[in-house]
Symmetry: C2
DNA sequence: TACATATTTAGACAAATATCTAAATACTTT
DNA sequence: AAAGTATTTAGATATTTGTCTAAATATGTA
């Protein structure tokens, strides 16, 4: 739970999730969407992956990232305990 | 939105919200629930208040904190865009 | 008014974080 | 095999963050 909130506590990472919500993307494609260096994006992807918010799969020369929405369920449940 | 995720990105602050979910508490009562100093708790309360996750009201010598669940709605909506 | 209680503000410090450049690794193509 | 492309790892650095102690502010009570 700590890892998830930590991962979500960064605007760049939240934007990465919003991109991946639409479709799977390679690390390079993700990096192209931002004006920060590829190593920095790689680091963000690592944090998201550790939190299980995304998964990665090697496709030849590329590494394709996908969102894992099931983990969002945990956050959802936590938030829901406050509603009402 | 950034402020909210920032506020939620700390186990102590999330526990404070869980306490306040049950009932309003004074700053001192909140501090008593943790083993960190009162100034540190005061700082956490400030961050939660800035994020609008809690409100405070002076009652004589005490400051009573209450949870503001309406702000949780924003997080909820953000999370929900990822479900399904 | 003087003292006690409740809370915050100020200032310092160590740990964590986001970023960068340079180098390493892995795959593809010529 | 050599060169090019994609991505990560390593190491450095500046900023942010969580915590502390000491002091300040505000309220209540003797």
């Amino acid at each position: 739970m700590n890892d998830i909130f930590k991962a979500l506590n960064d605007a760049t990472r939240r934007e990465i999730l919003e991109l991946l919500r639409q479709k799977d993307l390679s690390a390079g494609e993700i990096a192209d969407a931002f004006s920060i260096s590829k190593p920095s994006i790689s680091h963000h992807l690592d944090i998201l992956r550790r939190a299980d918010l995304i998964t990665s799969e090697k496709k030849g020369q590329f590494i394709i990232y996908s969102i894992n929405t099931t983990i969002m369920e945990d956050v959802l449940q936590w938030i829901l305990t406050f509603k009402k």
